[in-house]
Symmetry: C2
Subunit: 400 residues, 2 copies
Amino acid sequence: MRVVKKFGGSSVATTEKIKNIAKDIAKNYKHGDEVVIVVSAMGKTTDELIKLAKEISKTPDVRELDSLLSIGEQQSISLLSMALKEEGCKAISLTGAQAGIKTGGVHTKNKIESIKADRIENHLQNGEIVIVAGFQGVNENGDITTLGRGGSDTSAVALAAALKCECEIYTDVTGIYGVDPRVYVNAKKLDKISYEEMMEMANLGAGVMETRAVEIGKKYGVRIYVGQTLGVETGTYICDNSEIIEKKAVTGISINKNVIMVNLENFSAIPKNVATIFNNLAEHSINVDMISQNEVENVKGSIGFTCPLTDEHFLNNSLKDIKKHIPEIELTKRTGVIKISLVGIGMISNFGVAAKVFEVLSDIDAQFYQCTTSEISISLIIKESDAVKVVERLAQVFSI
Amino acid sequence: MRVVKKFGGSSVATTEKIKNIAKDIAKNYKHGDEVVIVVSAMGKTTDELIKLAKEISKTPDVRELDSLLSIGEQQSISLLSMALKEEGCKAISLTGAQAGIKTGGVHTKNKIESIKADRIENHLQNGEIVIVAGFQGVNENGDITTLGRGGSDTSAVALAAALKCECEIYTDVTGIYGVDPRVYVNAKKLDKISYEEMMEMANLGAGVMETRAVEIGKKYGVRIYVGQTLGVETGTYICDNSEIIEKKAVTGISINKNVIMVNLENFSAIPKNVATIFNNLAEHSINVDMISQNEVENVKGSIGFTCPLTDEHFLNNSLKDIKKHIPEIELTKRTGVIKISLVGIGMISNFGVAAKVFEVLSDIDAQFYQCTTSEISISLIIKESDAVKVVERLAQVFSI
């Protein structure tokens, strides 16, 4: 069997850990599998490199930053290759460039454009384990590029697509849970989750997998397994919807604390004004989410939206600007709130989900400030103090 | 003016030091010079990487070791490039591969085969400072290679040869001295030294410059300047013999404490026996130096040689072997000795040098155990306890 296995930074944080995963990989190898490994930089290496760069410059040149950051993965692939040879395996490490990973876009936020996998195929045919540096590639100028945070997941899934095999992502957690087990102790681990649900969960702040990696998985039909490094428990498969027989109405609930809510009222909600508002927010680089508009009367409007709490400083500046352009507008900001999102591919055919959600809120007398929906999700802004109670009850009701 | 400047590991050991040399380089740049910089890894980075590799394997795979060690220089070039941009310079960092440095030979001990300098030329024409990773290149398989210890000097001089310009080597010391100033406080710094003398000095253990770098300098006529990083004193030029007007009989005295002396006596010094001895020493990887043979009678011979004290363990094994093959042989080992070598291109035309040396030894009643000569050097084995006195007196006699 051919497989791409990816190990994150905490799995290769020390030479001791590297030796342990080498022992584990050696078992696959001796079993006759064709194995490609993708690794991240050891532990906090990337953060330390960024710190060095910041000591030199507040705004380090991005081409140089890419070249600098890429050494973290080059270190871990070499060490892992040495460790695999100690275990009696044939092994070879390849940088992103050597592995044929071509990227485009802007430095520090590159995207994989293509993978020329000939060299990897040759090494596999030669009976070697191929260890590829995650997070990096090479652009058309021959410059080293990086894929941004979480880029090693993307490297792994893209390689699996090019090599037409499954991708296994090894991490600290035992799999993907419907609800964060730190919030709800009875949370169940999912056996399977669809690409669409996982993407929605990732976007909504679940933080287990990089969205881009799941997108590539969906596009090329790569089954992605998420499990614990050296763990014994079976993890979770991210796979095509058609593989999931029993489609639950709600697969997971994501919880996002980094949120602030804004209401704009008592102004003329004509397109010109609405455009002014959102252009201004964009100019201040504010990541606007959950927009809802209610027409109160014929001419007076009310618009609500959320944005990350970490953008509050920019938000304040933007709101001042907006007030200058539309003096009659009334602004209210609400903090101490939390966004919970119910995600489920089954929602498309389960019309009663929203009704059940509101019933739960009513039962426990929890107020909600805003609600938006997509085809496969419902998001609510509630009081932070109500969050645990609401999540627990929803998890029970939907058997998550 | 076009120039290649090389900075060693201690000159770029911290981000603070990197910023300081960036300020200095910026002056050249703003003066309109075309500047290529070669840097080593920061401080002890290479040693730390070797330590990591040794934690994984006692005999790390050499291809992987090369890939691992190369990241040290990749780190320093990126950081220096960022620092130069902070100083308002246009700058770009290039790995060995990106700079077109092609190598051949075996991993960890590669040799530069050719430099395709087109990319560097383009960047220079574009008004950029080009920062090249020392110590590394790429082989015909596209694998990263390193040049062995001191390889950054070699990179710098080879680049200067390809770019047809001078090479400046910046280091901890203010230049090249005729005698180690730690041994003889009145030692004089040389303004100039010929390639041949420098190579002889380096081989004899002076340790300032890598011999290979000087060899390349000689072959391609690259003038090499050795001076102190950010220092104000003028350093030393390594240049062609023809540039040196006043040819001193003795330019320098090198001192080597890492030496053990062996005498083999009372055996038939026929070629077969001599071959047996030196083949055996070679099989035990002993670096034999200063061979002298004296025929005592018609058939009985005596052979003396020296080798590094650090090889003593291998030497003992070899001597046991030799005794098995030639049972009548008598072996004596002498430690507590030191090798001093007088080097001077002027020696060729100064026949009295040896006589003066023996006069000095006689004057201060210093015994010597062995003596060998080359065209431009005389080497002596003396008692370690006599070394300082002998070196001081020789330095005075030859005005070094």
